[in-house]
Symmetry: C2
Subunit: 138 residues, 2 copies
DNA sequence: TCCTACAATAGACATTGTCTAAAGCAAGCG
DNA sequence: CGCTTGCTTTAGACAATGTCTATTGTAGGA
């Protein structure tokens, strides 16, 4: 069984079949699923789960910091279970596939104070775009 | 009259009142408007313009490379008329304000070949997030 | 001026996400 | 072990954003 479920239980999360299924889907897949894809996989394990529950549960997982929300295109949010190691994303412009990547250097340091306009800058998100080997072959 | 309109005309863009109005809205504002905001401003100048036309025209401007599509949140695409100087964005996590920024260095170079997974990487998009002076004061 | 191909329009449709009111159920308590 | 309570789930309506289609309009060349 997963660490994720253990952690959630430890935080007093009320465990239900639906929540377990959603957590399992995320824990099992190391790709970045959309809410709808999570729903589809959850339905396969628990046919009566509703869309609203999947959305709710994903939202809670994000709030708890167990899952990251990534929006690399404007179509649908994707959910990244790899919330505990900082990383950035490489997105295929054609099929939308996402890989986690770890660039060298610290992009936060690349923004000089003169370019911060008084903002307190706390985060940086880097999205590389290109074409994946699959799409390039097609 | 704007450079933008001149350039478009020079490229054989068929000029219509609707397209002129959309181009003027983008050219006049140096903030990053959503499609709906562009529509609202366009309607103020040309009441009978339709939503579809605004979407189409924005799409064409993006294709022509005159305007950039930016999605800093997952709610709505925003349109950035400043397409001719590469830049990145600094977003206020509270009010959603966006500033263009110019970090030093080239983040594309920060992604080693071993982290490219066979992708042909052509673009990089950096989004800094923080709190703007206004929101920090409040 | 007239024609024709390209553009605009209204509104239906699609996708993604949110909300609500009612019914269900986990887990603590006796 | 079986209540009770309050958190969860559910179905489906609703909302926001974007896309498509068939029809009508029109810019610009002949």
């Amino acid at each position: 069984m997963s660490d994720l479920l253990e952690r959630l239980r430890g935080r007093g999360w009320r465990m239900t079949a639906q929540r377990r299924v959603v957590a399992e889907v995320l824990d099992g897949e190391h790709v970045h699923l959309t809410a709808d894809e999570v729903h589809a996989r959850a339905v396969a394990k628990l046919p009566e789960i509703s869309r609203a529950t999947v959305y709710n549960t994903l939202g809670e997982l994000v709030t708890l910091g167990e899952v990251l929300e990534v929006s690399t295109d404007q179509r649908a949010k994707r959910y990244d279970p790899n919330a505990h190691r900082p990383h950035h994303h490489l997105v295929c412009a054609q099929c939308g596939a996402i890989r986690d990547v770890h660039p060298v250097g610290n992009p936060l340091a690349d923004l000089p104070a003169s370019e911060r306009f008084g903002f307190t800058v706390s985060e940086v998100e880097v999205t590389y775009r290109g074409v994946c080997p699959n799409c390039a072959a097609a």
